[in-house]
């Protein structure tokens, strides 16, 4: 599971008010390199919950990876950003797309319900007694 996915998910169990952001408890994570796509990242930027993304990088022990406030569209489309390791584009790309959480747990902030992540697949399915009617 990438942090992009983490940014999109919430607990929908009964008793959760917003169920968001899910706390991230990581047992195992890896990095897989991928080709950055500036258009995709620029399109995704306004849809992200930046604070939750930054918090997620902190829980992985990567406090310096992302700045506290989101980069601007201009920063992402700056010339040579794709080749510069330290550019805003590459850091966002790394945070959103290159970090893979293999094993761990997503914890609902309201109910403490744990959603396991196993083999990189988060299991968001609810138990019978948790579905809202």
């Amino acid at each position: 599971m990438r942090l992009l996915t983490h940014n999109m998910l919430a607990s929908n169990a009964r008793g959760a008010s917003t169920g968001y952001p899910l706390k991230l408890q990581v047992v195992k994570w890896t990095t897989k390199e991928a080709e950055p796509n500036a258009d995709f990242l620029r399109g995704m930027l306004p849809k992200l919950d930046w604070a939750a993304l930054v918090a997620a990088t902190h829980s992985l022990g990567l406090p310096g990876l992302l700045p506290e406030s989101p980069p601007t569209d201009a920063e992402l489309s700056a010339d040579g950003a794709a080749d510069d390791e330290g550019s805003a584009l590459r850091r966002l790309h790394r945070a959103l797309l290159e970090i893979h959480i293999e094993e761990g747990t997503l914890v609902c902030p309201d109910t403490e319900r744990c959603f396991p992540i196993s083999k990189g697949v988060p299991n968001m399915l609810l138990h019978e007694d948790e579905v809202r009617n």
Binding site: M1, R2, L4, T5, N7, M8, L9, A10, S11, N12, T18, G19, Y20, P21, A34, E35, N37, D39, F40, G43, M44, K47, D49, L97, C114, P116, S118, K119, G120, V121, P122, N123, M124, L125, L126, H127, E128, D129, V131, R132
Partner: protein, 503 residues
């Protein structure tokens, strides 16, 4: 400019929508609607020969043809006739300035003689080519990699063409190829050589057609909420799109058949970027955070409608009917507990899909999905398709699966933003839809309509005589009416259709 567009003679309903979708993809917003069609004289709408006007230059035509699956070729038509004499006259009348740039001495060329509904022997082909001396070819012949390819295409003048209504007169076309489909990717992606497939894996050709309808391309995000073994996302990823998928069955998405045979291995097999995310979730109770919307560029899927695989959703059957209280999972078992699921009716499944798409698609984003239709009396029941105030239906392509039922690929475009008022309106539409279609959309009904034994007529013979089954299974057609009109799907049309095949 008008071109001759020749299709492969298959998936007839899918051909024009594919070209229009690709025009939109390469030509920009509005280009798909700007495509115009005509039919050659005396040709039926199901004929492989169509005339198309594309909103752009020859490059657009080439891009469309090269990416498509069903376009055999797009040609600049230099002439046509019912005899070779007429063809010569027509080609001679075609403006010199359009022809000469492709006949220069520096260029290489090749001539192909092709036919539809008949076989032309090698000898006849040679004679046809020799008869083209009135065209001043100056270049050298190169059969392997010519700069310019010219086609002579002939239709037959007798009987019926592959089950199509007869063309009253034979037509011969001569044209220069602008672009052609690359169907080589079909053997590469065919399911029989794919590592991980399931019983409902989408056929490679259809998956590519769906990805084309969904305008999959680099920088776009495609989501499949019923991902299964990922067969639709593989096609979208081939065209460069980012992909995401979800499924309710954890075994399918997480484990597959082992460490080298799962969703991920399907992407590895074709050296495609793996999906951004595969998650286990229930479309009925989607796990998206509050406020998240307009994030996918396309949602492409084959929802479970209970014929080959039934849909499931969270909550047991008895639980949902209220006859039992929810099973309380003991704390020590919560970790490995497998929650029970209940059948998911088609109506509910489609409702949830439209709701998901209305919220999560960007404006102008596309929802592409299959929808089952019961065929009555060999004719698709013109059932009303599901609707949503945020969406406009732009294509419905029928694929006939059996005497009993078809599936229709629906392509919808998001034309209105998703708001609370819209949501209320959508609920109302859904209730009406469900009431009108209650009978067959209930759980299990579609399955029994497809699989129940054939009805017996009074004399003990099956009511459907399989031997008289028409070979031609396209739309109903009219023999003498104006071929430009779309044939009506009426009982009257059906009578004509039968009359032709048995008479």
């Amino acid at each position: 400019m008008w071109y001759l567009c020749v299709f492969y003679h298959r998936l007839l309903d899918y051909r024009r929508p594919e070209v229009q979708s690709l025009a939109e993809l390469f030509g920009g917003p509005g280009a798909g609607d700007a495509v115009e069609w005509r039919l050659p004289e005396n040709h039926h709408v199901d004929s492989p020969f169509h005339l198309v006007r594309l909103p752009g230059d020859e490059r657009l035509a080439a891009q469309i043809a090269n990416r498509s699956l069903l376009v055999k070729g797009i040609y600049e038509l230099w002439g046509q006739g019912t005899t070779y004499e007429e063809l010569e006259k027509s080609v001679m009348e075609y403006p010199e300035e359009r022809k000469l740039p492709y006949l220069t001495p520096e260029s290489t060329f090749k001539i192909v003689v092709d036919s539809f509904g008949k076989v032309i022997s090698f000898q006849e082909q040679n004679e046809i080519m020799k008869s083209l001396t009135y065209i001043p070819f100056k270049g050298r012949v190169n059969l392997k990699k010519p700069d310019h390819k010219f086609f002579v295409m002939e239709t037959d003048d007798y009987g019926c063409n592959n089950g199509l209504p007869p063309v009253a007169q034979r037509t011969i076309f001569f044209g220069r190829e602008v672009g052609a489909a690359d169907r080589h990717l079909l053997p590469t992606y065919q399911l029989k050589s794919r590592k991980y497939i399931g019983p409902t894996a989408m056929d490679a050709e259809m998956a590519f057609l769906m990805a084309n309808q969904g305008l999959a391309r680099p920088g776009k995000l495609v989501y499949d909420p019923f991902v299964g073994t990922g067969s639709i996302l593989v096609a979208a990823a081939h065209f460069g799109a980012m992909t995401m998928g979800a499924d309710i069955d954890i075994r399918v998405v997480r484990d597959g058949r082992g460490p080298d045979c799962n969703i991920w291995s399907n992407f590895e097999q074709y050296k495609l970027p793996e999906p951004l995310c595969v998650l286990r979730a229930d479309n009925n109770v989607p796990p998206w955070r509050p406020g998240l919307k307009e994030i996918f560029d396309a949602i492409i899927c084959d929802p479970p409608y209970g014929v080959r695989a039934g849909g499931r959703k969270s909550g047991g059957r008895k639980l949902l009917k209220g006859t039992v209280a929810p099973y309380t999972v003991p704390d020590e078992k919560r970790g490995n507990h497998i929650p029970s699921t209940a059948p998911y009716s088609l109506a509910e499944c489609v409702h949830d899909l439209l709701h998901l798409a209305a919220r999560m698609l960007v404006m102008g984003g596309r929802l592409v999905f299959f929808y089952p239709v019961i065929r009555e009396d060999g004719i698709a029941n013109p059932a009303k398709y599901p609707e949503h105030p945020c969406f406009k239906l732009i294509a419905s392509c029928e694929q006939i699966l059996s005497m009993r039922y078809s599936r229709v690929l629906l392509t919808m475009v998001k034309v209105g933003p998703y708001t609370e008022e819209v949501e209320k309106e959508a609920e109302q539409w859904h209730r009406e839809f469900r009431e009108n279609h209650h009978k067959w959309m209930e759980e299990g009904n579609l399955h029994s309509a497809v699989f129940s034994p054939a009805e017996q007529a009074a004399d003990g013979k099956p009511a459907i005589d399989r031997d008289s089954k028409p070979k031609y299974r396209g739309k109903t057609f009219h023999l003498f009416a104006n071929a430009e009109d779309e044939p009506p799907r009426s009982d009257q049309g059906s009578a004509k259709f039968r009359g032709f095949n048995t008479g």
